[in-house]
């Protein structure tokens, strides 16, 4: 049993899995990439822009890991800096201004842990995204396509609908990190993976996501067609909804497990 969750983690990290850009190119038409956060730099770990979904304009944002060693290096292995999150927020605000829905593809082991990232406020950048996304008045759908690593993933995940690929994972901490903190032994990552309940099925049973996407024909034409259909069906429901923002609040409001102690 304990190998099972960790096997999912390994699958989610496979460099052969479709990455953010694969989804963008195969699901949408006329993608135009927009660059930069208008404050400091352009973070290549996050790709964003506008595209057409069945001839309707949408804003798409993806954390991009890259496939080859060289691509992965350029994309910083999909570990965004604060600039990436600020670019994403800029594009989301732009989407709100022009009334476009937002679709995010999440795939990161986590926000980058580095000196520059801390100097430029990694925590503040993520916090601002969480706060601002909660009240954007256009539909937001976020899909976890590989790794959903902690706050760095959640920073694109405050959505009306959150979906996960069958073999993607979503976790508060990497199993290795968890094992090394709790048991001083990163080799116990398989036990940690099991304990953290990070699979798509776990996330669904915890009420964190709405839908698990099958990986049948992963990366093939049929696969992307299926996701395109799901997205456009869901967006036509969401764009009719006049109460999006307060439903989004309630969606997150109810997540958690607390008990009442006698006073």
């Amino acid at each position: 049993m304990s190998e099972k969750a960790y096997d999912r983690v390994k699958l989610a990290r496979e460099s052969t899995r479709p990455t953010g850009l694969d989804y963008i190119k195969n699901i949408f038409r006329s993608f135009i990439e927009f660059h930069g956060d208008r404050r400091y730099a352009d973070d290549s770990a996050i790709v964003g822009g506008i595209a057409e979904l069945n001839s309707n304009p949408v804003t798409v944002i993806a954390i991009e890991k890259g496939h080859t060693a060289k691509e992965r290096q350029v994309r910083n292995f999909g570990a965004p800096h604060p600039e990436g999150y600020r670019k994403a927020l800029r594009l989301m605000k732009q989407a709100e201004k022009f009334g476009r829905p937002i679709i995010c593809f999440i795939d990161t082991s986590g926000a980058y842990c580095g000196v520059g990232a801390e100097e430029r406020g990694q925590g503040q950048a993520i916090a601002e995204n969480l706060m601002e996304m909660s009240t954007l008045c256009v539909p937001i759908i976020s899909i976890l396509i590989g790794e959903g690593g902690s706050g760095g993933a959640l920073a694109l995940g405050v959505a009306d609908r959150v979906w996960m690929l069958q073999n993607s994972v979503y976790s508060v901490i990497s199993p290795e990190g968890c094992a090394s903190i709790l048991w001083k032994d990163s080799a116990k990552a398989d036990v940690a993976a099991q304990s953290l309940r990070l699979t798509a099925e776990d996330a669904k049973s915890l009420g964190v996501i709405e839908r698990i996407l099958s990986e049948k024909d992963l990366g093939k034409k049929e696969f992307y067609l299926r996701i395109r259909k799901l997205l456009s069906d869901e967006l036509s429901v969401l764009s009719q909804d006049l109460d999006l923002v307060s439903k989004r609040y309630d969606r997150f409001r109810k997540i958690g497990a607390t008990a009442t102690v006698k006073e």
């Binding site: 926000a111 980058y112 842990c113 580095g114 000196v115 990232a117 801390e118 100097e119 430029r120 406020g121 990694q122 925590g123 503040q124 993520i126 916090a127 601002e128 969480l130 706060m131 601002e132 909660s134 009240t135 902690s150 706050g151 959640l154 920073a155 995940g157 405050v158 979503y170 976790s171 508060v172 901490i173 990190g177 968890c178 903190i181 709790l182 036990v191 304990s195 953290l196 309940r197 990070l198 776990d202 996330a203 915890l206 964190v208 989004r248 609040y249 997150f252 409001r253 997540i255 958690g256 497990a257 607390t258 008990a259 009442t260 102690v261 006698k262 006073e263």
Partner: protein, 283 residues
């Protein structure tokens, strides 16, 4: 995310302070060694000075003690004290750890919430507790914070909050992570209705709390020398294979980089907060 050295007693011999047992002038008076100036301070003097050393080093403080220091006498009324965490993932060892934390801190959870007056200004107040699993945020902490912001919104009150946290509580997995989104949404609602939120970052404020309600205040203050950052120092050193300067991720560091408004020593906090509340007209 890191629960750094939680509840681990500091071995003073390892901190370069002294190599032999100190000679007590007045034997019997317990002392504490200051990690900054390495002097031994009689506990009575330290307590009389709100746990601040003569050199300016701020020791960690229990949440109840901080409430006493900040709130006007007898003005604090606790709210939502009955909310506590479960073990929703049946995470190994969590139950025992939480029980130990309850004993160590005499608190049910890692945050205390309520209403208080500070310099006769009414406000909602939350103070996180470092002695409860290093102030880590699980479902109960998230729920109490959100209940407080909702209460403040309903009663049109400002919120003053003291943060101390190792980050999200990993024993509650994804549910802990979601508390970041949940608390942020409640801060936003409170903010959008024109109400004031003042955060005071104390040692340490890191991880998921930094990346949510700690960094979302209108006015962000910090105690001198507090660790303030997102990723753990060790993790950054491992990732970048560089050793980091001592001042990295301190209050002074984040002030210099533009992420907080002001560093305020413990002795001046009450005065500063009441002035800020007054200038915002209680809003």
């Amino acid at each position: 995310m890191a629960l750094i050295n939680f509840l681990k007693p500091k071995n003073q011999l390892e901190e370069g302070g002294r190599t032999s047992a100190p000679i007590h002038e007045d034997a019997g008076e317990p002392e504490k060694n200051c990690p900054n100036c390495h002097k031994d301070i009689p506990l009575s003097r330290l307590w009389a000075n709100d746990l601040v050393c003569a050199c300016g080093y701020h020791f960690r403080m229990k949440a109840r003690q901080r409430i006493k220091l900040i709130a006007d006498k007898d003005s604090f009324m606790e709210l939502f004290s009955s909310v506590k965490s479960e073990n929703p993932l049946n995470f190994p060892g969590y139950k025992d750890k939480a029980e130990t934390a309850r004993v160590a801190s005499s608190e049910e959870e890692a945050v205390i919430t309520g209403v208080a007056e500070i310099g006769k200004q009414k406000c909602c107040l939350f103070v996180m507790e470092s002695y409860f699993m290093m102030g880590s945020m699980g479902s109960a902490v998230g729920e109490k914070i959100i209940l407080l912001f909702e209460y403040a919104l309903k009663h049109r009150l400002p919120v003053v909050g003291f943060t101390v946290s190792g980050g999200a509580r990993m024993q509650e997995g994804l549910l802990s992570l979601m508390q970041m989104a949940k608390t942020s949404a409640s801060v936003k609602r409170h903010s959008d209705s024109g109400l004031l939120y003042i955060a005071v970052l104390t040692d340490p404020t890191t991880g998921g709390v930094t990346a949510s309600f700690a960094m979302e205040a209108d006015i962000i203050l910090a105690e001198p020398g507090a660790t303030v950052g997102f990723a753990g120092r060790r993790v950054i050193e491992q990732t970048t294979k560089k050793s980091l300067p001592k001042e990295f991720q301190t209050s002074e560091f984040v002030l210099e980089h533009g992420f907080i408004d002001k560093i305020v020593s413990r002795q001046n906090q009450k005065k500063m907060i009441s002035l800020l509340l007054k200038m915002h007209n209680g809003g």
